[in-house]
């Protein structure tokens, strides 16, 4: 086996040093009644060529965004990733290393994370960001836990009805045994209903969670929400599933959010069927010591030279055990790196420009679809990348019709939003050419003939 270096002679030699006659003797600590009495029933080892052929066949059975016109979003976004990103993360000094517990030989990982933390702060308008969480959904859940921990006796969480439903479900999973009540804030015209929110937010509310942009792609009036939330002494958690929007629109920090979490997949991480992505998590200074997850800080070595270490570990499970701020003990290191490289390449100007391109593409698609008889854009107001189309025919049939033309036209909203049975969530990014958008529009119109 190519990954196993031992020769028979070496094995005999090693057994001699240990003082046993066979490898089996090394397992003598395992009682007979705990032994598997047969061979594993798995296929025989395959050569690299055989395995790749088999995997290639499986891969070929999937609708890849290279070959399909993809207008799917909903928490995972089809953006272009420059060759530099994959090239650099393929350096095995990065990806074959572990969590940087030994800082003297992990300065590469540590400095890259420190830079990542900085760029997340700059983008979100916050003071402190951690070294990342698993994904946007679990980061959102951890943000709710932070609000409950720091909210003293407050026991209610208000979740906007326009929040990404998978985030909402993940929050529900995390909170199910924590004596916390989750209440949904109604949606009015595609946005969190401010009037309803005003009547719901009181001194028993630990946090209000709002998508920015929300699941329908709409830009919420975060400043107004922050005002209501702040007046009641609750924390405002902004959940950002498409952070490219933050290069164009005011940052949640600037608008008054207390916690900003989200998903960083848009920044150079492949779609990969929805994972791995990367959760980001940023707070104001007052919540620094309540953060979950790893944090990298700057310090000096014995010679006074700048270096970086994991820090504020007394929050964490390996020290605090059941009293830790979270059970998380990893960060998405490799994805952190992808995001860092992607953001460094695009920089101050490129990210803004890219966000503008995305905005313009979606605006074009929206206008073209709005002009079609029977189709309607569900909500007014500003949006980013995504928008909801109300269709004149059942969405399932419509989607099938589009699929026959090799178009993945959007997400049917009926399952998560029964009040939008004909709703189709369409996402347009820089990856969609005008030709693709026109093809989508024509295909949609095709049903009217």
């Amino acid at each position: 086996m190519r990954y196993l270096p031992h020769t028979d002679a070496e094995i005999q030699d090693m057994l001699g040093t240990i003082g046993v006659g066979s490898i089996d003797e090394l397992f003598s600590g395992i009682p007979q009644n705990c032994r598997l009495q047969r061979d594993l029933n798995l296929p025989a080892a395959k050569s690299e060529a055989e395995a790749m052929a088999l995997l290639g066949k499986l891969a070929a059975k999937n609708a890849c965004s290279d070959q399909w016109d993809t207008f799917l979003g909903g928490g995972a976004y089809n953006h272009f990733s420059p060759a530099v990103v994959d090239h650099l993360v393929s350096r095995s000094e990065f990806y074959t290393a572990y969590t940087p517990y030994q800082p003297e030989i992990s300065q590469g990982t540590l400095q890259a994370i420190f830079e990542f933390q900085t760029m997340i702060c700059q983008l979100t308008g916050m003071d402190v960001a951690n070294a990342s969480m698993y994904d946007g959904g679990s980061a959102c859940a951890e943000a709710v836990l932070l609000a409950v921990r720091t909210g003293r006796k407050r026991r209610r969480i208000l979740l906007s009805g326009a929040l990404n439903p998978q985030y909402r479900q993940t929050v529900a999973t995390y909170c199910q045994h924590l004596d916390v009540e989750l209440v949904q804030v109604p949606v009015a015209a595609g946005h969190t209903d401010l009037k309803a929110l005003e009547s719901m937010v009181d001194d028993n509310v630990a946090a209000v969670v709002v998508g920015y942009p929300n699941y329908f792609g709409q830009i919420e009036d975060l400043a107004a929400i922050a005002k209501l939330t702040g007046a009641a002494g609750a924390r405002l958690i902004a959940a950002v599933a498409e952070p490219l929007a933050l290069a164009l629109f005011k940052s949640p920090g600037e608008l008054g959010a207390d916690v900003v979490v989200g998903e960083g997949q848009s920044f150079g991480i492949p779609l990969s069927y929805g994972g791995p992505g990367i959760g980001f998590f940023a707070v104001k200074n007052r919540d620094m010591r309540a953060l979950p997850g790893r944090l990298v800080g700057e310090t000096v070595d014995l010679d006074g030279k700048r270096g970086f270490v994991l820090t504020l570990a007394t929050r964490e499970q390996h020290i605090r055990r059941e009293k830790a701020t979270s059970n998380i003990c990893s960060n998405q290191g490799m994805c952190t790196l992808m995001v860092g490289i992607y953001l460094a390449l695009h920089g101050k100007q490129g990210l803004r420009k890219l966000a503008q391109v995305n905005y313009a593409k979606a605006a074009y698609a929206k206008a073209q679809i709005a002009a079609l008889t029977g189709f309607e854009i569900a909500f007014a107001g500003e949006h980013f990348n995504e928008f909801v189309v109300l269709c004149p025919e059942p969405v399932a049939a419509l989607k099938t019709r589009l699929e026959q033309e090799q178009i993945l036209g959007g997400i049917a909203l009926g399952r998560d939003f029964p009040e939008l049975p004909n709703g189709l969530l369409v996402c347009v990014t820089e990856q969609n050419s005008r030709e693709q958008i026109d093809r989508l529009v024509n295909a949609l119109a095709g049903g009217q003939a």
């Binding site: 196993l4 594993l40 290279d66 095995s92 629109f249 944090l295 990893s330 460094a344 420009k353």
Partner: protein, 482 residues
């Protein structure tokens, strides 16, 4: 031993310190639709402090940073409990196939049959290795797997009308175990062990408020819990369930299956046992296997197969819900499946055998010079203490001195039950030569502790930086540039 190299160590500033106004490293296709801008009052100012660099700047920056790192591809990485085995390159190629890397999670299942088939087959293979009939691939990491498993245990009790609120955890457990249990609303009851968990110790704290026992087997001392079957029976007799932390599954493949010996729930760490890269901290993947009676509680959605067609089942009224968006770390699942294809059933068993051989060989070579607190036969890892070190030398000093010898240190100060623990897990992918050289270094360091202790106290001297002031970092946290 890598003691005579003095490589070229390049300096590298932060991205932000190199930034030059108007320098660019991106290319964006020309806009082929009319331009459009949102209303002014919603727009942000430019992102203050964001870097402006060329492509060359960025490439050089990260290339230099990478040279300050030590990975499995750099050399021996005997980090106990982490199973730092070689990460096969073909796995990376497989995960990057456009038909895997380029598929959107909202694509209809009928159009992603290859991805679903791969996930289904991976579940089957993990089930065969572990003895569990039902699995979820959704958890993002081991700790999230623990959380998922403990939620299922709680849901099962509640479905049976029981509100049990205690979980028993031995003192050798990883810190994530009690943290995950607490996140499920459980109260943690810690039991002391004497290297091994005894039936008596468990019996002493067992009552009808105990929802589960959480064990690691083999435990964090590398010892197979010899009474595990009887302990499981005891817990079951009191109406509780048994959770196993699968961190040490690399010691058991093809030898013993947790699902056969009374364990009810176990998480896998695909980044340990199944060779997927640790990535500088992640992403990993933490699938969970369960016995039949816990199947209704698996996270949503569950993959189902019907006559060769695969689909997600969302109609799961008793499910604990979802623990993250979508279906898990699919890119990591592809790598693990690629590994299983390469190894086959026989190869996985061989990996376990050689991992145990390597650990026992290190033990034999270092025992007597380093103190071995637990004399029982250990499996895939060996834990020494600092008791034999003199001259004020501690485990931390040994670890830092190992860096000067060109090695990543073992896990240190864990498990907590061993004073100054040095936890060494070589894995199966290291050859006898590599291990011999490592042992020579360890023996040399023990001699230095006797004769030239300052070499340990001053270590490392050959890394990019010397020892860092961690206390200062925590006292006055600086967590971002500027």
């Amino acid at each position: 031993m890598n003691t005579d190299g003095r490589g070229l160590v390049l300096d590298e500033k932060l991205l932000f310190e190199q930034s030059q106004p108007d320098r660019i490293g991106y290319s964006i296709s020309e806009l082929d639709v009319p331009s459009a801008t949102p209303q002014d009052n919603l727009l942000r100012d430019e992102i203050e402090g964001f870097p402006e660099l060329s492509e060359v700047d960025v490439v050089r920056h990260y290339t230099r940073l990478s040279s300050w790192n030590y990975g499995v591809d750099s050399g021996f990485y005997p980090l106990g409990s982490c199973t730092m085995k070689y990460n096969p390159k073909v796995n990376e190629a497989a995960a990057r196939l456009p038909g895997f890397a380029g598929i959107h999670p909202q694509t209809p299942e009928a159009l992603n049959q290859g991805a679903l088939e791969l996930m289904y087959q991976l579940q089957q293979a993990l089930g065969e290795v572990s003895g569990f009939p039902c699995l979820t691939l959704q958890p993002a990491a081991g700790a999230q797997g623990e959380f998922t498993g403990m939620l299922m245990i709680r849901a099962w009790h509640e479905a049976n009308g029981q509100k049990r609120h205690k979980v028993i955890i031995p003192d050798t457990a990883h810190g994530t175990n009690p943290a995950s249990a607490a996140l499920c609303g459980f109260e943690v009851v810690t039991v002391a062990t004497d290297g091994m968990l005894s039936k008596e110790a468990v019996a002493a704290v067992l009552d009808d408020e105990v929802a589960a026992l959480m064990v690691t087997n083999p435990n964090t001392l590398g010892l197979f819990e010899k009474d595990i079957r009887e302990i499981c029976e005891l817990v079951h007799a009191h109406g509780g369930l048994v959770y196993c932390d699968g961190a040490n599954l690399n010691a058991l493949m093809g030898i013993s299956r947790p699902g056969d010996i009374g364990i009810d729930v176990m998480h896998f760490n695909l980044h340990k046992t199944f060779s997927t890269p640790h990535g500088g901290g992640g992403p990993g993947a933490g699938p969970v296997g369960v016995v039949e009676k816990l199947e209704p509680f698996l996270p949503c959605p569950v993959i189902v197969e019907n006559q060769g067609q695969y689909a997600f089942d969302y109609e799961r009224p008793q499910s604990i819900g979802r623990v993250q968006s979508f279906y898990g770390h699919f890119g990591i699942l592809v790598r693990a499946y690629s590994y299983i294809l390469a190894m086959g059933g026989e190869g996985l068993k061989r990996a376990t055998q050689l991992a145990v051989l390597n650990a026992n060989y290190i033990r034999a070579r270092l025992e007597g010079v380093y103190d071995l607190p637990n004399p029982q036969r250990s499996l895939h890892e060996v834990v020494f203490s600092e008791a034999a070190l003199g001259n004020g030398c501690h485990t931390l000093d040994v670890a830092k001195r190992l860096i000067d010898y060109g090695y990543h240190p073992p896990t240190i100060y864990f498990p907590l039950v061993v004073r100054g623990a040095l936890m060494i897990e070589p894995t199966e992918t290291e050859s006898k030569q590599v291990i011999d050289e490592f042992c020579e270094a360890m023996l040399a360091i023990a001699r230095e502790a006797e004769q030239e202790p300052e070499k340990l106290h001053n270590a490392p001297t050959r890394a990019r930086v010397r020892r860092l002031d961690e206390a200062a970092a925590a006292r006055k946290p600086k967590l971002r540039w500027m």
